[in-house]
């Protein structure tokens, strides 16, 4: 384990770096020898070539970074009309030369006082949210989608110390897929709980979350489970995601090998209970990294179902670029192994603007005001970091 004052050093050095949750603590990657900005032109070559490299299985024989939402749509031939928003890159990957292990307790405090007084504005008010909501409900009735997630964005003007934010976030919300990127002109902080791809040799798994419950004194794990089981709406949403992820895995796995390893269990986090399933399969021989990514991304649980028609409905509706939101962060190892999450519960800071995107699902029995407020609750944990 590396000493904690390493964080101070790395912050002072002004070097770009990435921190990603590991099993026991965190891994820090830095000393980047390459930075690849992705475009529709180079993405396929990047994915395929990055995993065909000769490797001595060094810990840094990998590319780490993210795919944004738009480039993942384009990769599966789903088009998005011109949208408003920050002109943020569609995806960036780095080749690190240094990897350090850190403990779960990240200690670092910003030396500057960067508290922002600028308030957050939401891009959709309740009325226009309701409007979209009702439109999508009609689409559910006519069978064009079974479940769809409307994204709302909260924005303010702010300069942030990303490492300071991330350290505080991991204290309040430790999440198994948490990560941060700190580069010269942007930063990302996320407490994502959701793993989309874990691939080791020919074994691949995905761990969708559908169903979240805030902890309270009256609740324990088994009460949370019976809440989820009794709640028909949560159960139906979860079932749909399980069948969708089984199908996505089946595109690239040997027939008959896809199994639900954990079926609708409750996992306990610091402030939340999540309703999760773990689905896994055995990859078909010679499945390329590109095929894996195209089969699984963008992650279904944050889009809706069925994926393609739902993406098209969303993209016709949303006027603003989702940027990193519902994209994926993770790494591609030179030997072909990979790990990717779904980017949710995140802050993107770019050009002195912070952007927090959240979404919640419309199924036939959901209620617009409830979901609108749910969105705010999801954003609040991140907005609180600015206080």
């Amino acid at each position: 384990m590396t000493k904690n004052n390493y964080l101070k050093e790395i912050a002072k050095s002004q070097k770009p770096f990435i921190i990603y949750k590991s099993n026991k603590g965190f891994d820090l990657y830095t000393d980047f020898s390459k930075k690849i900005i992705l475009s529709n032109k180079n993405i396929k070559n990047f994915i395929n070539n990055s995993t065909k490299k000769k490797t001595k299985n060094k810990e840094t024989d990998l590319y780490i970074g993210f795919f944004g939402y738009e480039i993942l749509n384009n990769l599966i031939d789903v088009k998005i009309k011109k949208q408003k928003g920050l002109k943020f890159p569609k995806g960036i990957f780095y080749k690190p030369e240094t990897k350090k292990k850190l403990s779960n307790k990240l200690n670092y405090k910003s030396s500057e006082n960067l508290k922002s007084k600028s308030t957050f504005n939401v891009n959709l008010n309740k009325a226009s949210y309701k409007n979209i909501f009702n439109k999508f409900k009609k689409k559910i009735k006519s069978g064009e989608t079974y479940q769809i997630k409307i994204c709302t964005k909260y924005r303010n003007n702010s300069k942030i110390d990303a490492l300071d934010f991330f350290c505080r976030l991991t204290k309040s919300n430790m999440a198994p897929e948490a990560f941060m990127i700190n580069d010269k002109n942007y930063s990302i902080i996320s407490c994502s709980p959701e793993n989309l791809i874990t691939k080791n040799r020919n074994f691949i798994s995905t761990k969708p979350i559908a169903g979240t419950l805030k902890k309270s004194k009256k609740l324990n794990k088994s009460k949370a489970l019976s809440f989820f089981k009794k709640n028909i709406k949560e159960t139906k949403e979860h079932n749909m995601i399980v069948d969708m992820e089984r199908s996505d895995l089946s595109k690239i796995c040997e027939a008959g090998s896809v199994r639900i390893i954990k079926k609708k269990i409750v996992e306990e986090y610091k402030d939340l209970y999540h309703y999760v399933s773990l689905i896994a399969g055995k990859l078909r021989k010679n499945t390329s990294s590109l095929e894996i990514i195209k089969a699984m991304m963008p992650g279904g649980s944050v889009i809706g179902c069925p994926k393609i028609s739902t993406l098209n409905l969303l993209n016709n509706q949303e006027r603003e670029n989702r940027n990193i939101y519902t994209g994926s962060f993770g790494y591609l190892k030179f030997n072909g192994d990979m790990r990717f999450n779904i980017i949710i519960r995140s802050i993107l800071n770019y050009q002195n603007q912070s952007e927090i995107s959240v979404a919640s699902g419309v199924v036939i029995d959901s209620n617009a005001s409830h979901e609108f407020n749910e969105n705010y609750i999801k954003a609040k944990a991140l907005i609180d970091l600015y206080r």
Binding site: G143, M240, D243, A255, P306
Partner: protein
């Protein structure tokens, strides 16, 4: 060979894996149908998918062309496509079933399954068949145990079968058995 036509659905590959237990399967998107594979196939499977049968005129043409020549199996949207081509009306239902597990029962019209037998199945549909429905050689052979909505069809003369529910869903018990029976029928 079993040829599955995918209507861009997020459950199709579960169908592919399920049918692969019983024979060689090929699967293409409905926008990208391979004529050679289509001609060569012994069984044609119409996958689940979004929207309504009227949105897929090409599939209606294919159905009419191969009806009686090949075994045709429809699942969810595919089930509705068969009914639509047989002049059935597909309408929105008040209660919508997406990710819903429910009980269905076999009617006395079925030749393949035992009358009165109940199955627990997974359902993903907002549309249903408007009844009464009559078409030569077609029988509604399973129904929702509560609402009586049509859940399966059999045409044992021309070997056409369909399920409104999803035999490939993890919510369906004995789904493999259902497919095995209609494939060997």
């Amino acid at each position: 060979m079993i040829y599955i036509i995918d209507h861009n659905d997020s459950f199709t590959h579960n169908v592919v894996h399920q049918f692969s237990r019983f024979g060689k399967v090929e699967c293409d998107n409905f926008n990208d149908i391979n004529e050679t594979k289509l001609k060569k196939s012994k069984v044609l499977v119409l996958s689940p998918g979004p929207g309504a049968p009227k949105d897929y005129p090409l599939i209606s043409r294919i159905y009419k062309k191969y009806k009686g020549e090949k075994k045709i199996i429809g699942i969810c949207l595919g089930f509705q496509q068969i009914l639509y081509c047989e002049k059935g009306k597909i309408i929105e239902q008040n209660k919508i079933y997406h990710g819903f597990q429910s009980k269905i029962k076999v009617t006395n019209k079925s030749l393949l399954f035992k009358k009165g037998q109940k199955f627990t199945v997974g359902r993903y549909h907002s549309l249903k068949l408007k009844e009464p429905f009559f078409a030569k050689n077609f029988e509604i052979t399973m129904r929702c145990a509560i609402s009586n909505v049509a859940m399966a069809l059999e045409n044992n003369n021309e070997k056409i079968y369909g399920f409104q529910f999803h035999p490939e869903s993890f919510l369906t018990e004995n789904g493999n058995l259902l497919i095995k029976k209609i494939l060997s029928a």
